[in-house]
Structures are given as C-alpha cells and as structure tokens.
Symmetry: C2
Subunit: 419 residues, 2 copies
C-alpha cells in the first residue's frame, strides 16, 4: 500500500472526530480529551540495578514461554520437545530463552573444560579438540532458521492444534557462531574416498546422524554460540553441529565425535524415524532439506480480532534451499492472492518476515500465506503434497500452506484441511 | 588470507606430527592417540524439559554478565548503568539478558494494560494510544546498534579500565520492532510550524529529550519489542523510542508523551549533560550522532593469549551515519594497517563484525582497529579528537581508536593514550 493510500486508510478507519472513545473501526482507541494522568512510576523511584544480574522478561510477559505440545501426549519424557511461541515473536530472531527444545534422552550437563571433540575415520590425521582449541579457529556468524522435521506433524488433514506455537513452534531463528566444519576437516585431511560424515552427541541417546560430505564441506558449522552468547544447555552446550536449511535433528547437539566414511551408517534416525512414507508403500530416506514454507503468525489460531478495520497480516517465511523470493497472502481461502512486503535483510536459509495490510470488514475470512524461494519452488498445499507422498501416521516434513479461519466475531481458528 | 595460505598456516602451526600434546604453536591441543573416553553424559539420562520454563544460560557461563563500572564509583544508585560483556559476544546481536542498562531513577514497573502514550502539541488532533492500539499499526523490524554517549568516558588519555566490557560495554546490538514514529505523527497531523519533538518517559526522572522533527520522521521508531520478544523492563517496557544511530539517551524509555513544538526545550540532559566541551571554553550542544567507531573484542583487555601462532582478531564496528565500509587492523600500534574481513549482513547504523587472521610471534604487540563508514568518515585517534574538542572532565562521545597492548606473556592490557 503506498504511503498516501495508507494514510487515507487510517484517516478513514480511525474516525478521529470526537473527544470520546473512537468507533469500532478505530486503530487508535481515543482522541485526547482530558489531560494524561501522571502515573505512579513518574512519582517514585524504580528498581535499582541488581549487580551482575542476567536479565529476565517482565512479569507481565509470563504467558510468553515454550510449551510442550498439548496435542500429542508424550508417554515418557526422555524423548521430548517444547515449542517456540511464534505468535509473540516479532522479527526473525528467537530469544535464546524461547528457542524450541528437542532431545532424545534429556539435556546433558557438560563441563566445557573437560569436553572433547574428535575427528577420525577416513582422515589423514585424527584430531582431538578442547573448547579452547575450537574457539581459536577462524570463526563465522550466520543467521539461519532452525526447524524440526516433525514441525506440523499433528496437523496434516484436519485441525488438531489451536495456536501457531503448536502448529509451527518447532521453528526458531538464530544467529549461529562457530567454525566451518570444512576448516576442521581440512586440517584433519580427508581421504579422497570419504563421502559421508557421522556426527555423534554426548547425550544419553548418543544421537547420531549421517550427512553427505558435500553438504558438510559446503556450509556446515561447528557451533559454540547462538544469538551473541554461548549455546544454551538444551541447544547443545558447549558445541554442536549446524547444517543450514536441513532438518534440525541432523544438527547434532553436544557434539563429541565426527567420523568420515565412504558410506552412510543407516542409524535408527535414518530408517525407523525421519523418513517419509510414499504412496507406493516405500519410504523416502535421507530427505533432509526443509523445503520452502511460510506461516502467518498474526492473526493466528487462538487470537481474536477486536475490531474491524485495519489489521497487519504478519508472518515468517523460510527455505532450506536458499532465500525467500516472494510471499503471497490470501484472505479468501486461496481464491485470490496478493504479494506481501518482505522485510530486509533477506538471508540465505533464514527466516524472512513478511507483512501485508488488511482491511477486515467484520465477516468470515480465511487467511493463508504461500512462499516462493530463490529456486522458484512454490510452497504447496497439503493436497499437492498428497499427490507425491502418503500422509498417514507420524509424517514428517510438512511444509503445506496453513489456513487460519476468522469468523464474524473475529475469532481465529486453525483450518488445515478445511479451506 | 586465501584458503591455501590459511591451510598452510594451520599445517605449519599445528605441528600434527606426534601422538602427544602438540607444541606451543598448535591450534589443536593434541593429535589423537588413545580412544576418546565415553563421558558420563552418554551413560545416564539428562535433564527433562521443565514445563513452560524460560531458558537460562549454562551454569558454566555465570561469568558472562552485565556489570556496573568498576572504575567510576557511583555514589548513589538511582542514576546508574551496567555494561554488556562484549568480550563474550560473538556476532552482532546482544542477548536481551546482557543488553546494557542506563537509567536516571531506576527501572519502573509498568503494567502494559494501563499504560498510555499521548501525542500532542503542534498537531491537528491529539491522540492517545493503548499498547493494543500501537501493536495494531503497520510494524517494522530493524537491526541497529545502541550506544550510550558516555561509552568510554573513563578512558580518554590514560587507561582506567581493564576489559572491553568496561571501556566499550555501553553498547549493544538489537533487532528492534515497532511502529515508525512518522506513521503515528502523520495520523495526528503535524502543524507546518512543528520543528522539534519532545519524548518523555514514565520513570521517576521523567527523562525528557528534544529531537529534531526531521530525524523523527526519517527513521525513528516507537518500539515495543527487542530481539524477538517484548522489551525488557530495564530497556523501556512496554514502549520506548529508538532513534537509530544517535546517543542512547534520546531513545527515551517507558515512553508516555510525544509533543511537537517549533523549538527545542533545552532540558537538563541538553545543557548540563550530554554536551561536548570545546577548546574555546564553549560547549557543543545537540551533538547526538554517534560517530563511526570500532573496537577489537578479542584479544582484548584482561585476556591472555595461551600460545604463539594463529589467533583471529575479532571485533565490532558501527556508525550512526550509515553503514560500515571498511575496518583496518594494526598489530604494531598503528605503524602498519591491513584490511579486516567484514561479515555479512552489513546494515545501516548496525553493528558489523570484523575479523583478521594474526600470527602472533610471541613478542610485544599493540592491536588497534580503525573503521570507515559509508560517508567516508574515518574513526579518529584520541589525539585527532583533541585537536577539535577539549578532553577534560566528564567527556562524552568518545569514538577514538582503542589500542590493546600484548606483552611477551600474552597478557592483553588497555593501552589508551600510550600507543
């Protein structure tokens, strides 16, 4: 919307003609009539600085927190996850206190002074690193999205979840800092026959994955910091792998071992889990790229529009294959689409924020977003995914379009499979 | 350093020839001889997910925290500050728990449900906003540095501080989210005679500043979120001003009042404070742009290099006038300079990370960085600043080059005024 259009829109909708509370269409709740009251905080000293305190959110924001899923009840809690409250996340960074958690046997307590990382297998010279060693290497910091392959698995063909935290909250945006894996492997010297790399964690599940050497040498990082400070314990402290754009579980946390081989290992997480059922009864393996996806975070499930008139549709888009090129939004369930504004910076394999103005007339509406990435790939509907894959059981890699239905009361509901 | 040079450098310095601990020149501490021990964390379950917990750093990172200055003792603690531990900050984002604090009468406890923001003065229609109103407006998220004008004031002509936290820690990097001030003022309708804008806080000091309307309409934001969540109480919760690139104290926190006038107000913070003494006995007023600056955060004061050989010089550069164009580093106290690598993304009025490889021979060295911004402005030495301004007393706006001296033991010391 051009500046003048927007101004006219506000002028129209704000109805700033009287001295009392403006009408239902107002973006501002009131024109000024009486003098502004002087609040008590202007009249008495505030809280003094607590020496050496690590800051925490306001007590009024206690509702903004990670939550386990309410939908898929966990029968035991050693293999568990919690989800990021995306409905409260403005911008492309997730604060470290709200980054989603996922582990297979709890979060280990690792002393960085005794932790060791080894590179071995098909290398000229096995190497062992302390944390001090790793931090000394040439470093890089990069913004990337991080998403669990299971994000959205409860909501394929009918609504199970209420909020975007439950449908999409296995997603976070992070500035990672570490050493390119290529630097360390280069120092060990890769055997020309090496084709796959094992990463193993120091947790009780000894979580392990096989990753093609080509991807490891391309952009994989051995990471010790996130969003400007050391990794958090639940996110891999003191060191982890980050494989940009790929399903989260290949980015092995609490990293202790890197091994080079000429073939993959076919771990449990590569056969019984993290694979995709296909229509012919076969299962697709090593489908590790998180494909282009987007979601509207506001308005989103569980929220309520208070008044008709101007609302900004806001959301996040991302692709494991590159940058976001465009996001389209629909307010009529996909009958018509218009292009949203993308917010700079638009970075490779990173969350991109989009926005679109919307004049809600007060009637039913179905909001959708559809992202296109730099390869030209268009985010599909679930129906389109179903043409290629079998959607049955515990299905991973859900990048389908998410519809949110708004009723005449302004209540927003999950409408997956219904729009 | 080109890839092959770097590899040779590592190969040379790592001395990976034996099975025991490598020599003093090693970047890796050991080549692998014995099998890697299986740690206890691989053998027993870890900590389970705490329902609805807001995450906190590892207990092993307790030393990474904000601190009051050790140098300038505060006689009372209502007007106070704490500083960001930049020596531990990898990347251009400061975690919200470590963002520097500065207030004149403590941090108020403001309930967002009752807080109101008013725009009045030389406007066609005064307006009053609830927080719900503000969040509904078209939003923007932008990365900007945030720096107190007093950053570095203890260390002009001789060393007073030990660490970069003490010399430069009134600096943070933040992704701000809010509404352009222009949008709200546009809705109120600015009187053509309006030239200045007052911002007033709801804290006990009722902190107030006058800002030229031109800057307010250019890029000033009315902000409610930082780094992906609501503002923290000490940083202005629930709403503040952010004036990109200008001294921190004009970005009034706990914002309750915006008033348009045809002239500035000349508040105490514009006469007795936040002004610059000049050689002729006069004082420069309204010098609010934070000019181009950089600092090496590693190696930096109080750290110790453990071994000669490869070290990466790392630091941050920023400019209130635009983007960082280049950073030069010197390891010989400014006799010779070479260009550092800048890390993408390089954004307007934002921290930019720079890096340069360094082969420390084990002797004395003096490390310096010098930033150049997109206007062509070159960060000056203190001696150069002294030619234009009087450096005496409580002097603000220190953007001089910071030297760190390394001795033959590898100890790093503040060398301001000595190099």
């Amino acid at each position: 919307m051009a500046k003048n259009d927007r101004r006219d829109f506000f002028r129209r909708s704000a109805a700033l003609t009287g001295g009392a509370i403006a009408g239902a269409a107002a973006a501002t709740s009131a024109a000024r009539a009486a003098p502004l009251a002087v609040p008590p905080t202007n009249q008495e000293p505030g809280r003094i600085i607590e020496e050496s305190a690590y800051g925490v959110p306001s007590k009024y924001e206690a509702h903004v927190k990670r939550r386990r899923t309410d939908v898929l009840k966990n029968r035991q809690n050693l293999s568990d996850w919690s989800m990021t409250p995306l409905q409260y996340q403005p911008g492309i960074i997730t604060p470290n206190g709200l980054i989603f958690e996922r582990h297979h046997a709890g979060t280990p307590d690792i002393d960085p002074r005794t932790h060791r990382l080894v590179i071995h297998g098909m290398v000229k010279q096995p190497l062992e690193f302390t944390m001090d060693d790793l931090v000394r290497y040439p470093s890089v910091s990069r913004f990337h999205f991080h998403e669990c392959s299971g994000n959205g698995l409860t909501d394929w063909v009918k609504p199970a979840s209420t909020t975007v935290q439950q449908t999409h909250g296995l997603l976070s945006g992070v500035l990672w800092t570490g050493v390119p894996a290529a630097t360390l492997l280069d120092e060990a010297g890769i055997d020309p026959k090496g084709k796959w790399v094992l990463f193993e964690g120091a947790d009780a599940s000894a979580h392990t994955r096989s990753v093609p050497l080509e991807k490891v040498l391309d952009d994989t990082l051995i990471v010790y910091a996130m969003n400007g400070e050391a990794l958090r314990p639940e996110n891999g402290y003191p060191v982890r792998v980050v494989i940009p754009g790929w399903e989260g579980n290949v980015s092995v946390k609490w990293l202790r071992r890197v091994k080079v081989s000429d073939q993959p290992w076919y771990f449990r997480s590569e056969t019984a889990r993290y694979t995709d059922p296909m229509p012919n009864g076969k299962w697709r393996k090593f489908s590790m790229v998180m494909e282009c996806k987007s979601v509207i975070t506001s308005p989103s499930g569980g929220q309520q529009l208070k008044n008709p008139g101007f609302h900004e549709i806001r959301g996040l888009a991302w692709s494991g294959s590159g940058k976001i090129r465009a996001v389209d939004v629909s307010t009529d369930g996909g009958k018509s689409w218009r292009e949203a504004t993308l917010e700079e910076p638009i970075m490779d394999k990173c969350l991109t924020r989009f926005k679109a103005p919307w004049d809600w007339k007060g009637g039913p509406a179905v909001l959708m977003s559809r992202a296109v990435d730099s390869t030209g790939y268009v985010q599909p509907t679930v129906a389109e995914i179903q043409k290629a894959r079998a959607i049955a059981g515990f299905v991973q890699h859900h990048n389908g379009i998410q519809p949110w239905a708004v009723n005449e009361k302004g209540e927003v509901r999950n409408a997956i499979g219904q729009a």
